[in-house]
Structure formats: C-alpha cells, structure tokens
C-alpha cells in the first residue's frame, strides 16, 4: 500500500512539472499571438515601415532575417558537418580529440554578444566586409557551428557499426562507406541539428547588433555587402528607440509573432523531410 502511494506521488510530481512546462510554452505563444495578431495584415507583411516606424509593415526585416539565417546555414552546415565527420570517422580517438570536443561544447556556451564583438573585430573590420549581411551571417554561423557539430556527431555515432562493416566487407573504401551509407543514415539526425540552429540563428539579436543590423533602411538589401534589417533587432530597436512607444510596442508584438511563426514553419518543413527519410529507412 505504501509503495503504491509513493508511486502515485511520484507520478503526480512528474505530471506537475510537465504541466508547468507546457503552461509556460502555451502562455508565451498565447501572449504573443493575442497581441501580435491585431497588427498583422497583408500590409504589415508586405510593406516597408512608414511615418517614423508607426505605420506600414516590416517586410524588409522579414527578408533580412531570411537572408541572415540562410547565410549562416550556408557557412555553418558544410563546415560543421565536415568537422563532425572528421571527429567521428577519421580522427584517432584519444586525448586531443577529447580536448577538441570539450572546446566545441564550450563554444556553445559562449554568450552570443561575444560573437557579435568578435564578428565586429574580425569580419567587419579585419576582413573589411563592413556592416553587412556577410558579416552578420558569418557571426551567426559561428554561433550555429557547435549546435550543428554536436547534432551531427550524435547522428553519426548512432549509425550502427555493423552497417559500416557491411559496406567495408563488400570492398567499399572508407570514404564510399561514409558518403553512401553513413551520411544518408545519419541525415535525419543532422537535419534536427540544422532545424535547431535555424531557430537559434533567426532569433539571435546580439551577434548581428554590430555586424549587420540597421533599424531603418530604405528599400531591400542589394547585395551581401548591404546592411540589413532583421526581426529580432527590429523588436529590440522598437522597444528602445523612437518617439512613439505605444505604436512601436504594438508593432514589436507583431514582429515577435512573425518571428515565432517563421521558426515554427522552418521546423515544420525540416520535420516533414525527416519523417520522409525515416519512413524510407524503416520500411
């Protein structure tokens, strides 16, 4: 009897914790959606800001966030994937590789504003890319790297040794084995990493603060060397600058909702791809 009671209390506690988590998640979505939905319209989505940020839309910021996130993934995915493949498949196991692994994990813990400062010093100043999409994407790419590397590493380690052996036993080289068997099998896991990092990158403000973002620009960016508006930075700027706090706050909620929906949409697309791949590989 006492055992059963203990068990019930245990389950109830676990349920409570789960419920609290769900509550906060739902609350955030409700809070943002309820306030943001009022301002969202086709005009808001498709037009540029007007009248000192109080009218018009945020289309340039949406486009800017898209460019920045895309740029970040274009740089960090090949680099991160190559790094993970080297660490999992080629590097000799031992002390040095462990140090590298720990360093990569530490990179994930670096505050994002530090990446912003680093980006300013290296990409903006040293390489002379200026305040631009390129500098911003590169700074965001460094932020995304550890997420992609650790997800890819996990995915590669989860590929059973037995199918690697099967491939080698057929006279495949190590590279053929990695390219044709290991990578396709690990793809769903790698995609998860990409999803996570797109979400992170699209929402980051600090790394683009000094490297890419502008509060207001006329028109859309013309090249990767242009400054760019971006949703998270736009929210930040709306709440801290300008002369019309009430209107600006409303727009900020609209931006938050769009950012949320954008991230959800990206995740959804990636999950669909993942499921397809899974059903293919598990019959």
């Amino acid at each position: 009897m006492r055992k059963e009671i203990t068990q019930k209390i245990g389950f109830s506690l676990l349920f409570l914790c789960m419920a609290i988590t769900i509550f906060f998640l739902a609350a955030i979505i409700y809070f943002v959606a309820a306030r943001g939905i009022k301002i969202i319209s086709w005009e808001f989505l498709l037009q540029a800001p007007r009248d000192g940020m109080t009218k018009g839309g945020v289309a340039p910021a949406i486009v800017g966030t898209f460019y920045l996130a895309l740029g970040a993934i274009v740089f960090s995915l090949p680099l991160g994937l190559a790094c993970a493949i080297y660490l999992c498949e080629y590097s000799p196991k031992g002390f040095i590789v462990n140090i590298i692994r720990i360093s990569i994990n530490n990179l994930a813990g670096v505050p994002s504003v530090v990446f912003g400062l680093f980006g300013l010093a290296i990409f903006v100043k040293f390489f002379g890319f200026g305040i631009s999409i390129l500098s911003g994407s590169l700074s965001l790419a460094i932020l995304a790297l550890p997420i992609i590397i650790s997800a890819a590493q996990e995915a590669l380690l989860a590929v059973p040794q037995s199918i690697r052996e099967a491939s080698l036993a057929l006279g495949a080289t190590k590279w053929q084995t990695i390219k044709k068997v290991v990578l396709p099998t690990a793809l769903p896991g790698i995609l998860t990493g990409v999803i996570l990092s797109i979400g992170r990158v699209a929402g980051e403000t600090a790394p683009i603060l000094f490297t890419a973002a502008a509060f207001y620009l006329k028109g859309y960016p013309r090249s990767i060397f242009s400054e760019v508006m971006a949703l998270p930075y736009h929210i930040y700027a709306l709440m801290t600058e300008g002369a019309h706090p009430n209107e600006q706050t409303a727009i900020a909620y609209g931006c938050s909702l769009i950012l949320l929906l954008l991230v959800l949409f990206v995740s959804f697309v990636a999950i669909v791809i993942r499921q397809k791949q899974r059903s293919l590989s598990h019959g």
Binding site: K93, I163, E165, A166, A169, L170, T173, H282
Partner: protein, 253 residues
C-alpha cells in the same frame, strides 16, 4: 586431404592491446569446401575469421603478425589493397545488417562501389544474386521496398545475396544463424551447402550440430590456439585431442 588449398594461415598471431587473442595459428582452407570453426566463447574464432578478410585491422591497438595467403598471395603484404581483398573475400555477419535502403539498392551497392555503372548489368546481377540466395521468390514483387521490412531470416539471406553480387571467391560466415529461428537457420544451412559448389566457405558457429551438418572440415579453437583441425567426420567421431573430445561431448563451453 587431397583438395586444392584456397586460403592458408601461417604462424598467425593477433593481439588486442595486451590480450593474446590468436597464438601461432597454422591452418589450410580448401577450395569448394565448407570449413567450420568451433570453440567456446572467447576462443578466438571470430577474431580468426575476421583476419581472413582484413576486417580486424579496423580495431585500434591491435597487432598482427604472420601471413595469410589467398591463392598463394599474402593478403597482408604491404602492396595488397585491403579494399580489393574484401571484395574477393565476402563476409556475412552474426546479426543481419542490411543497409537502411531498398532491397534492390542493398545488392546494387556493392557493384556500384566497385565502379560498375551499367544499369542493365546491375539489374541482372541483383536478380541473379537474389536467386542464388534463395530469396527471389519472396521479394520479386517488392524490390524497391525497404530491406528493413524483411524478417530476420530474409534479411540474412539478403546479406548473403549482397555478398554474392560482387563475385567473391571466398565467403566468410560469422555465426550467421546466431539470431535466427530454426526454420530460417535450416534455410541458411541449405543455402551454404548449395553455395559451396561455386565458393569456398568458412563458417564460425556456436552450434556443433550445425558444424556437423554443413561442414567438410572442422577446426576447434580454444583460448586462442588451434587445438585440432581435421575432416568434420573425424573431429566428431574420433577426435585426437582430449580437449576436442571434451568440448564436442559437451563437457565444457
């Protein structure tokens, strides 16, 4: 013993770190015969069979000495490419390990990695290999379904078909029935007896009845040593070594 020798192990020693896994093994493997390797767990039989196609060198901190010949060529000679050796000496593993791809792709894979691009040739080979592995009738209508949807026994025959497709000369079976039910096991054994007409076969097994049923020669390993090697009939009816006798009569292992 007047059969042609296909493979030959000469003074083979193998270490995992400090563990001396194989001790001065000398053994012949005859062409178009089934050679069974038996012995208790940890006796080195899997280690030995995985040396025959140079799979063991993938293990870190392993040391090998000695020579292994395939048709008079030392496969461990520095000029020999292990990738080519593994093409010529196929392997079927303890647990069925199909790729998470379609049945067709599983078999086509070995041909593709060996540089064959001709689609009609690949299709022909896939069908031929599935027929040789006695799996064709069961899968002919779903060649493009995932291999993982097959039963364990079917998966193992698929792995055999996959190995056959690259036209090996020798096929190594590392406890191929360890995870299969008796009916699937019977099918694999039947298949092995059929395959020995065209291939040289080495099979590691825990199951002594299986060794007796399928093999022509049997090697008994114990603690990394080859205790006795003879015709299967002799091993099971008149073993020369006391330890062999003790093992086959079930006194240990």
């Amino acid at each position: 013993m007047d059969k042609q020798i296909r493979m030959k192990a000469e003074n083979v020693d193998f270490y995992y770190g400090k563990t001396h896994a194989l001790k001065k093994i000398n053994m012949d493997i005859y062409a178009n015969q089934v050679t069974a390797i038996i012995g208790p767990s940890g006796c080195g039989k899997s280690t030995f069979i995985r040396l025959l196609n140079r799979m063991n060198e993938l293990i870190p901190h392993s040391i090998f000495s000695g020579r292994v010949f395939l048709d008079c060529n030392n496969i461990f000679s520095p000029v020999v490419d292990p990738v080519e050796i593994r093409r010529r000496i196929g392997m079927v593993f303890q647990k069925p390990n199909p790729f998470p791809k379609s049945i067709f792709e599983n078999i086509a894979y070995g041909l593709q990695v060996n540089g064959i691009k001709d689609k009609s040739f690949i299709e022909h080979k896939v069908v031929e290999s599935l027929k040789k592995a006695a799996l064709w009738a069961e899968v002919e209508k779903r060649l493009h379904a995932s291999a993982l949807a097959l039963s364990g026994g079917q998966q193992q025959r698929l792995c055999i078909a996959r190995a056959l497709a690259v036209e090996p000369e020798v096929i190594l079976f590392d406890e191929p029935c360890a995870s299969l039910d008796p009916i699937s096991t019977a099918k694999i054994e039947e298949l092995i007896l059929e395959l020995k007409k065209s291939y040289t076969i080495v099979i590691v097994t825990h199951n002594m009845q299986q060794a007796a049923r399928v093999s022509d020669y049997t090697a008994f390993f114990l603690l990394g040593e080859l205790i006795e090697f003879d015709k299967t009939q002799n091993i099971f009816t008149a073993p020369k070594d006391k330890r062999t006798e003790a093992y086959i009569t079930g006194r240990f292992g």
